[in-house]
């Protein structure tokens, strides 16, 4: 940065016997021009970022809507050439996987979040926060490889829904921990103190005073984690593999919506491509609705 850029127009802009007032004015015009240009560029950047979303969304809706009908939700994928077929097993499989993943991930995430907000001081808590951030930043494929090596190759011996649910749980936990900690910290200390002053033990204070006051925020964290896990593909591919049939047995490969989209997309048939767009529309609609709901529920609060 050069010093003459900021000089007040009066002193150095008029060297003795030097330039006229019009020259200074011309320089101001340039500076104002640059400022306007940058305002436009910055606005265009924002417009571009927003436009990309609407282009992608619009395209998914345009290509996906023709695939949507009732059998699409209930039927299983059929071999190529047979008319009809849908993503029923994939939707059911995704719901089952998310259900099991929540059963594992929600208690852990909630417990760790409570720990960090209510007890968490000192080195151990810092380590937990740090590692939570690291787990949140892990590439999902690495989580997939971990569960693939651990459960698919070593413990269970084949692809299974259980392995998929475990991978999703690892992805969900850090999101839940972070939201729960932030939300519990928003609960005023006076509430805790009032309860403690009445002689209530701390565990009851947390369970019956703190958690209920932060209920909306906690639900938000869980929903966010579900939305994120519901769209994950790579870790599921490595663990549950996918399935063309309805399967409720968690020890067997299970279908999931993102895997079904991938399988439909990379096949060479137009009809399957349409189904891939349709399945994407379903996935994006569910995730979009969840995102909007959580946004409304936490309006004005700082989500961590």
């Amino acid at each position: 940065m050069s010093s003459d850029t900021y000089a007040p127009p009066l002193a150095p802009a008029y060297p003795p016997g030097g330039r006229s007032i019009f020259e200074a004015d011309a320089r101001y015009q340039v500076r104002r021009g640059v400022a306007r240009l940058m305002a436009v560029l910055v606005g265009l950047a924002a417009l571009g970022a927003v436009a990309v979303l609407w282009i992608i969304l619009g395209y998914v809706i345009w290509r996906g809507l023709p695939a949507i009908n009732w059998p699409f939700f209930t039927q299983r994928p059929l071999p190529y050439g047979e008319p009809g077929g849908g993503v029923g097993p994939a939707i059911a499989g995704s719901l089952v996987l998310l259900g099991v993943a929540s059963t594992i991930g929600v208690p852990i995430g909630l417990g760790a979040g409570i720990y960090l907000s209510e007890f968490g001081r000192g080195r151990f808590a810092d380590a937990v926060r740090f590692c939570g951030d690291l787990v949140a930043g892990l590439p999902s494929i690495v989580v997939g490889v971990f569960i693939w090596a651990l459960l698919v190759r070593h413990v269970i011996g084949h692809f299974s829904g259980l392995a998929g649910a475990a991978a999703l749980a690892i992805i969900m936990v850090p999101i839940i921990v972070r939201t729960v900690e932030a939300m519990l910290r928003l609960v005023p200390h006076t509430l805790r103190e009032a309860a403690l002053a009445l002689g209530v033990p701390q565990w009851r204070v947390v369970l019956s005073v703190v958690l209920p006051s932060a209920r909306a925020g906690i639900i938000t964290g869980v929903v966010l984690a579900l939305a994120r896990a519901g769209g994950e593909t790579a870790p599921l591919l490595l663990t549950t593999l996918g399935n063309m049939f309805f399967n409720w047995n968690l020890s067997q490969p299970t279908a999931a919506l993102p895997i079904q989209i991938y399988n439909y997309a990379v096949a060479p048939y137009d009809d399957w491509h349409t189904k891939a767009w349709g399945a994407s529309l379903v996935l994006i609609a569910v995730i979009g609705i969840l995102s909007v709901l959580t946004r409304l529920a936490t309006r004005g609060k700082k989500l961590a």
């Binding site: 900021y6 007040p8 127009p9 500076r31 104002r32 940058m38 305002a39 910055v42 265009l44 950047a45 924002a46 571009g48 970022a49 990309v52 992608i56 395209y59 417990g111 720990y115 007890f119 937990v128 926060r129 590692c131 951030d133 690291l134 787990v135 949140a136 930043g137 892990l138 590439p139 999902s140 494929i141 690495v142 490889v145 971990f146 190759r153 972070r178 910290r185 033990p201 565990w203 369970l207 994120r228 769209g231 593909t233 790579a234 591919l237 490595l238 993102p258 989209i261 991938y262 997309a265 990379v266 491509h273 767009w277 994407s280 996935l283 994006i284 995730i287 995102s291 946004r295 989500l303």
Partner: protein
């Protein structure tokens, strides 16, 4: 002597063994002023929450240890050659991951170069220029962009972006930059659409929300006095941003960019669908189909029938893990620096 136990002794027994709550003749004895059962409740509660917190550490440690143990065979057999050789041949049992590492670095770099200016620009717009009624919808839209699953970016990239790149963007780039000496190397060869450049473009779209959301928080955290001082001296709005706000936020914005980079490094499905998945020799050109580490894993895990192949794939994941952890740590240190010591204030759900 068979005398009934005294009240005191029953209390003493009770403290050493759990009460039978179903037996009315054995009422809970609160011992010393009722603190015993209180302590147990708090103890159990605190212990279980500590256990939940500790499980995060355990999983991270287990993940690291298992990846090391399972890649041991390949680690021992190839050593450093794993990262420097570009032969990946499971028939000859030669595994060198250099093309994958190269593909990951190139696509991420392209993504960062494209996404960085746009994301920071959009963040400046939302934080400094936009009227209030525009600010919320723009932020919200960009956050939605972050919520779209990568498979849908992949689908869109596969069917929409790839043809556009092949027929329009890549020939144009070749016309413009091809004849220029050094830069031209990047744009040699037949434009085929499924290549490193397209992978970089789809990654750029995916990391804009990350960089933008964190940059916005960082810019908003710059004290208003920074801006006002410049404006009071007669600076234009851009000058105050350029010389007072951006330097103040520099570390945080760099952190945001690196967090974006971290996301790009590990992204799998979207890249897998547009990058061409071919381990050809490394050329300087962006128009070469390739692999990233993540897409190589996704494409080959079903073929890992031999122990050494399995071990090599796990080692690719281990390299990816180490790179992404290093990048994440650097980014978080940078972001925390400006985050008023409160990591929770920044970053948001996106990170």
């Amino acid at each position: 002597m068979a005398s009934p136990p005294s009240r005191t002794s029953s209390a003493q027994t009770a403290r050493s063994a759990p009460y039978n709550h179903d037996n009315p003749s054995d009422p809970p004895d609160f011992g010393t002023g009722g603190t015993v059962s209180l302590r147990w409740g708090d103890f159990l509660f605190q212990t279980s929450s500590v256990a939940a917190a500790a499980s995060i550490l355990v999983v991270l440690a287990a993940l690291f240890v298992l990846l090391v143990v399972d890649s041991r065979e390949s680690l021992v057999r190839y050593g450093i050659a794993f990262a420097t050789s570009s032969v990946w041949d499971n028939v000859k049992e030669q595994f060198g991951a250099l093309p994958y590492i190269y593909g990951t670095l190139v696509t991420s770099a392209v993504a960062l170069v494209l996404a960085g200016p746009i994301a920071v620009g959009a963040a400046l717009y939302v934080a400094e220029y936009a009227p209030a009624w525009i600010r919320t919808p723009v932020s919200f839209t960009i956050e939605l962009l972050a919520a779209i699953p990568s498979i849908i970016y992949g689908l869109w990239g596969f069917f929409v972006l790839t043809p556009v790149m092949r027929t329009t963007v890549e020939p144009a780039l070749q016309r413009i930059f091809g004849p220029i000496p050094v830069v031209g190397i990047l744009f040699q060869g037949a434009p085929i659409g499924k290549d490193l450049l397209t992978g970089g473009v789809i990654l750029a779209i995916m990391i804009v929300p990350t960089i933008m959301a964190i940059s916005r928080e960082v810019i908003l955290a710059v004290p208003p006095a920074q801006r006002e001082g410049m404006l009071a001296l007669g600076a234009t709005r851009w000058e105050s941003l350029r010389h007072a706000v951006l330097p103040y936020a520099r570390a945080g914005i760099a952190g945001a960019a690196i967090l974006g980079l971290a996301r790009a490094l590990g992204e799998t499905m979207a890249v897998t669908m547009v990058i061409g998945n071919s381990s050809r020799a490394i050329t300087g050109s962006l128009f070469t189909p390739g692999y990233t580490m993540a897409s190589a894993i996704a494409n080959q895990f079903t073929e890992a029938d031999t122990a050494i192949y399995f071990s090599a794939i796990v080692e690719v994941a281990l390299v990816l893990l180490l790179v992404s952890i290093a990048v994440n740590i650097v980014a978080r240190l940078l972001v925390w620096q400006i985050g008023r010591g409160d990591p929770a204030a920044l970053g948001g759900v996106l990170v």
